[in-house]
Point group: C2
């Protein structure tokens, strides 16, 4: 999975504004950024009578629209997807995912605390809470950044989220010959396969995986 950081906070705290600033700064620094917005109340993106709406009403579980400039996808789900699955599925070719919401996720998290909205973290003060961004003093045993200091907040994301190293090696042999892998493909294979295999019973934390595909 690509590195991801959650920007959380109560409604009205300014999450979207901080996401905008951080995404902008990460982009300026050369990173390809993807974002996720958690919308517990649902959203309406597909208008009645449009072709995408007609596909969906006919029974399509997943409607994709494709144009030369843009791709869109609308997909009904039976239960809410965990953020890890969303990032692994849709954001596999960015350098970093900036996520708005998901305060309960097992991902590094920055909470926005705005005076008049709240005065202490609403999300758990656990090892995932890497910092607080606020317009006032907050005592919670975590680094507190000024809400407008998106440059330092982005520095922290680079240091704590984007840069930490990898812990597995990938070897690919095709028709008996080893194949050199660029970092993007290396990451795609490792995370894609481990993600699938971890969902299998008894394979939650594999030390080694060996996979063979052979023509009959």
């Amino acid at each position: 999975m690509v590195p991801a950081v959650c920007i959380v906070g109560l409604s009205g705290s300014g999450k979207t504004t901080l996401v905008e600033k951080v995404v902008s700064e990460l982009t300026r620094r050369g990173y390809a950024v993807g974002t996720v917005k958690h919308d517990v109340h649902g959203f309406d993106i597909d208008r009645e009578g449009k072709d995408s709406w007609r596909h969906r009403k006919a029974g399509s579980r997943c409607v994709v629209l494709s144009s030369p400039e843009r791709l869109a996808l609308i997909r009904e789900v039976e239960e809410e997807w965990p953020i890890e699955r969303i990032v692994a599925t849709f954001l596999d070719d960015v350098d970093v995912a900036v996520v708005e919401g998901y305060k309960g996720a097992e991902l590094p998290r920055i909470e926005v605390i705005r005076s008049g909205v709240s005065s202490e973290p609403a999300s758990p003060v656990d090892e995932n809470l890497i910092a607080v961004a606020s317009d006032m003093k907050v005592e919670c045993g975590r680094p507190v950044f000024d809400l407008d200091d998106y440059v330092s907040i982005t520095d922290l994301i680079e240091e704590k989220v984007i840069r930490p190293g990898r812990s597995q090696t990938v070897t690919l042999v095709v028709d008996g010959r080893p194949v050199a892998l660029k970092p993007f493909i290396d990451n795609l294979l490792r995370e894609g396969i481990l993600g699938m295999i971890r969902s299998l019973k008894g394979c939650e934390d594999p030390r080694s995986v060996e996979l063979r595909i052979e023509k009959k």
Copy 2:
């Protein structure tokens, strides 16, 4: 890649209506169906001022919205994605993809020909054109179905697109133990890995693939 069929035809021929009927019938027969609509003129799905729009304007290359009922994704692309990439990326967990448009794709194709709009196939009469659906007689050396006979058209899709067999075996060994694979995971691993590996130089048509992931 999951099996896919393209429904093509000139503007006004009734592609979307046939897609609706076929998707509906495939769903009734128990298949999980995904759809793709090719929109060469682009589409506007993301409204100014909405949070998804704000994420995108800040530089996010891929914005995902997630709610308990629905997922949506809006992604800018530098060039149009081939349909094969769209299906492999977004429709990996359906049984069949019904695609509206993409008449030049290397996929099985059914062309809709409506009297008053055209009288002969506008797409190539090649091995991919598996049938024509029309409200009149068409001579083109391909089976011609009545435009309203979506049951027979769906039969053909089942026979020619969904059922053709597989030609590779997949073996998975985790920590030295072979792991039994259900068809869905088998297919996911095979198609996912082959898809990635075929994009590597010199690996376009591998007879065997061996992949090892080991903890350092």
